[in-house]
Each structure stands twice: as structure tokens, then as C-alpha cells.
């Protein structure tokens, strides 16, 4: 479903990722976990095809990232990238049209269903400019979901959300995964990472360890939590 093999990318002389390999099956929630500057956003941008790898191979749904794949991928960038001077409904409706949902009645149904699913119905006529951080995150997610993509790429989707909202978003991710949507989430929050089916620990553009949260904790000398496992495996990698 999502396949990266020996991918290398650098900005000028600064190597962002090197020899990166990831394989994510259909319906999986994969967490890309690493500190700020570890290369998470670059990997996301490689996956959506906005930048090209210098070496290696990337495949999503059996194809290399290209504009023709856009209609199958939902992308939520770290910066919310919303039209602040438009209402919530107008933002979602505009992107629905960009994704080719041209027929007004069908589009209206889709937009209203998403507003409802993400608890944005009461804010539908509010300008994005007037929303709280959590509400903006949900509008951004709504845009990523509006065309019912098979793959969802979410860059730090829960930053700034309160615990209740975070739990509600994760419930939404689980139900999408059950429907067969493959989700890749970048995060530096271990609580989010522990909710993923599979996790890849990222350090300086390399996956230093990957597996289910439980497997990683076991591998890290039976660490009590994922944060300790990350630190343990990081240290182990450095001493090698």
C-alpha cells in the first residue's frame, strides 16, 4: 500500500533522510515518531510527491507519487493551510470542488456529513479566522477527508488539541482504518504513537526501529512506556 525503499533526500548539502525504507499494509495506522527536525515533514512531502527523492523508490497504491494519485490521497499539513477569511463550510466545499465533486447536491451531502462527523456542524458558518486551534485542526482534517481518500497522510494532526478532542479524533482514525483507509501519522507525542498499530522511530532521517508499540517496548528491554523505549533504542543505535 505505502512502500518506501532505500529513499534518500537532501536539501543542498544537508541530508534529511538516508536509506529510508517503510512498508505499510492496507488499513494500517502507522506512526512516524521523532523529535523536531528528524525529517518527519520531509517524509510526508516525499509521500505526497511535492518533493522527489534523490535515490530510492516510493510507491503508494502501487504507483509512484504523482498528480494523478492526488484523488486517492488525503493530506493534512502541519500548518493548517486554510482560507481564514472564508467560513468552515466554504473552505470544505471549495476543496471538495477541487477534488472533482462537481455535482452540487452530492457535494452538499458529502460536506454536511463531514461537518457532522467532525463535530463542526455548529461552526459551519463561522469564519475560520474566529475558530479555536482545535476547531481549525478539524477543518483541516475535514478537507483531507472530503474526497474519501484511500490513503491519509497526517502531519502532526493532534498538535494543540485537548485530551478529549484528541481521543475523539483517534476514534475517527480507527473507524477510517476499519473501512480500509491506510493512515500515516507523524507525531512527536508518544501518547499518539502508542495509539498507532505500527510505529517507526525516526532519528536524523533514518528509521532506527519499527514495529507495534508493544513490540518496541519489549525490544527496548521491556520499557514501561514508548517514550522510554524510544530513548533506549536511540541510545542503542548510537552506541552501535
Amino acid at each position: 500500500m505505502i512502500f518506501m525503499e532505500n529513499v534518500t533526500f537532501s536539501y543542498g548539502k544537508s541530508e534529511i533522510c538516508s536509506g529510508l525504507s517503510i512498508n505499510i499494509p492496507t488499513g494500517e495506522i502507522f506512526g512516524l515518531v521523532g523529535a523536531s527536525g528528524s525529517g518527519k515533514t520531509t517524509i510526508m512531502r516525499l509521500l505526497i510527491g511535492s518533493i522527489k527523492p534523490h535515490y530510492g523508490n516510493i510507491e503508494i497504491l502501487g504507483k509512484q507519487p504523482s498528480p494523478s494519485l492526488c484523488k486517492n490521497i488525503g493530506y493534512m499539513p502541519q500548518s493548517q493551510a486554510l482560507y481564514e477569511d472564508l467560513t468552515v463550510h466554504h473552505n470544505i466545499d471549495f476543496f471538495a470542488r477541487m477534488f472533482g465533486l462537481g455535482e452540487p447536491f452530492h457535494r452538499r451531502q458529502v460536506v454536511e456529513r463531514i461537518l457532522d462527523n467532525l463535530s463542526l456542524w455548529n461552526q459551519r458558518n463561522t469564519l475560520v479566522d474566529k475558530l479555536s486551534g482545535g476547531q481549525r485542526q478539524r477543518v483541516s482534517l475535514a478537507i483531507a477527508l472530503v474526497h474519501s481518500p484511500q490513503v491519509l497522510i497526517l502531519d502532526e494532526p493532534t498538535v494543540g488539541l485537548d485530551p478529549r478532542l484528541r481521543a475523539s479524533l483517534w476514534n475517527h482514525f480507527y473507524s477510517l482504518a476499519k473501512e480500509g483507509v491506510t493512515i500515516i501519522v507523524s507525531t512527536h507525542v508518544m501518547e499518539d504513537a502508542s495509539r498507532c498499530g505500527q510505529v517507526g522511530f525516526l532519528h536524523l532521517g533514518r528509521i532506527i526501529a519499527s514495529g507495534s508499540p508493544r513490540e518496541l517496548m519489549t525490544r527496548a528491554d521491556n520499557s514501561s512506556n514508548l517514550e522510554n523505549a524510544f530513548l533506549y533504542l536511540l541510545q542503542e543505535g548510537e552506541t552501535k
Binding site: I51, C70, A81, Y83, L86, R97
Partner: protein, 244 residues
């Protein structure tokens, strides 16, 4: 190119512009104030004003439209919405044509204010048909919109877009025959003037308004200006996907 996507971009831009009441007022107020200032400056020199008017109409149309488009498109890049737009199946032509059509009503309104204030407010004498002058200005607006989109690629802030005015627009004002006829410029500047879009707009407007020529008389200027608009459209298209 798909009509629905293009129209969605166009209507979105028009909606955003109309919602920004202060900008809407300034769009009409700024050219009126500037042209009145020009009129008062030359109130005792009617002949000079008559001679300068076509060039000033073209220059202010280019400046106002360039600023309008450049700053707006930069906002689209800076806020990440362009990146997000490019993650949809929308084509570059959809974006460019959508933008062009979205800004056109406001740019046309500004050009109309400049033209009408100059002709009727300042009582500038002219020959030829005003609608023919308007068609020439319309082609200049297409040039200015594409120039604004293209230049926004090289700016990181609104302030930097403004900095491009002395770099991109000021030479055109000095070398396009507004102040001094182009054939009286030093030979090397005459060569430079040949690639400046404003020069052809000024030449065309002078022929229509001062010599009373028709559109067929300014066909060369219209064709060259159209060619520059097309070249800038292609350049703007290439830079739409450019990541800063």
C-alpha cells in the same frame, strides 16, 4: 482544465475580495486620489497633461493590478493554501485562469476608475474611441496579473512584493515613452524598451487617444502585448509549483 474548478477558484477570489471591505474601498479610492493629484499638479499645463495622460493611465493600471495580484498570490503561497491546492487534481491552467478571472473584475474596475477620472474628471482632451482604449487596457491587465503571479514566486513577504515595484515597474515608467519618447532615449535603453510591456501599452494608448487611431492602427502593439501576456502566463504556470 475543468470549468468547475476554474470557476470555483474565481468565485472564491471574488468572494474573498468583496468580504475585505477596506481593500474594496482602497481599490477605488487609491486610483482616484492619485489621478486627481496628477490633475491638480498639471492644472495650469493642459497640453502637458493631455500628452502625459495615456501613459499615466497605462502605468497606473499596470502598477495597481500588479500589486493586487502579487500580494494576493503571495498570501496563497505563504499560508500554505497553494501547496494544499496543488495536492488536489487541479491543474496549473485552472489556477492561473481562475486567478485571472477572479482579479479581472477588480483590475478592470480600477482601470475604469483611472480612465474615467482622467478623461471626465481631469477633462483631458482625447481623440479616438474610449472602448478601444479599454480593450488595450484589458490586455495590459492580463499582463499585469501574470506578472504579479510570476514575481510573487521570488518574494517571501508582502514587503518584498512592494520592493519589486522599483525594480520591475519603475524602469518601465522611465523607458516606456511616458516621460520621454522612446526614440529619444539612449540607444541601449531603446533596446531595453523593446521588451517592456508598458511601452506597447503606452504606444497604443497614445495612438488611440492622441492620434485618434482605431484598434487596427494599434494591431502591432496589441499583438506584442498579447504575446508578452502569453509568455508571462507560461512563466507563471511554471512557477506555480515552485516551492520556496
Amino acid at each position: 482544465m475543468t470549468l468547475d474548478r476554474t470557476l470555483a477558484i474565481t468565485t472564491r477570489i471574488i468572494f474573498q475580495m468583496i468580504r475585505d471591505h477596506r481593500s474594496m474601498i482602497l481599490i477605488f479610492l487609491a486610483p482616484t486620489v492619485v489621478m486627481c493629484l496628477v490633475g491638480f499638479t498639471f492644472s495650469d499645463q493642459e497640453d502637458t497633461l493631455n500628452r502625459l495622460a495615456p501613459g499615466l493611465i497605462a502605468a497606473f493600471t499596470l502598477i495597481f493590478t500588479f500589486m493586487l495580484t502579487g500580494v494576493s498570490f503571495l498570501g496563497e503561497r505563504a499560508h500554505g493554501t497553494l501547496d494544499r491546492l496543488l495536492m488536489t487534481p487541479v491543474g496549473r491552467v485552472d489556477i492561473l485562469v481562475g486567478y485571472l478571472l477572479g482579479f479581472a473584475p477588480f483590475a478592470i474596475a480600477q482601470a475604469a476608475v483611472v480612465l474615467l477620472v482622467t478623461v471626465f474628471g481631469l477633462q483631458v482632451h482625447y481623440q479616438g474611441e474610449l472602448w478601444q482604449a479599454a480593450i488595450l487596457l484589458l490586455v495590459l491587465i492580463v499582463v499585469a496579473v501574470n506578472l504579479g503571479i510570476f514575481i510573487s514566486t521570488f518574494a517571501r513577504s508582502e514587503f518584498q512584493v512592494i520592493q519589486f515595484i522599483p525594480l520591475i515597474l519603475a524602469p518601465q515608467i522611465f523607458l516606456s515613452g511616458i516621460i520621454l519618447p522612446t526614440d529619444q532615449l539612449p540607444s541601449y535603453f531603446q533596446v531595453v524598451a523593446k521588451i517592456l510591456p508598458l511601452r506597447y501599452a503606452v504606444d497604443g494608448l497614445q495612438k488611440i487617444m492622441l492620434e485618434g487611431q482605431s484598434l487596427s492602427g494599434v494591431a502591432t502593439e496589441l499583438i506584442i502585448l498579447g504575446g508578452i501576456a502569453l509568455a508571462l502566463l507560461i512563466l507563471a504556470g511554471y512557477t506555480v509549483r515552485y516551492q520556496r
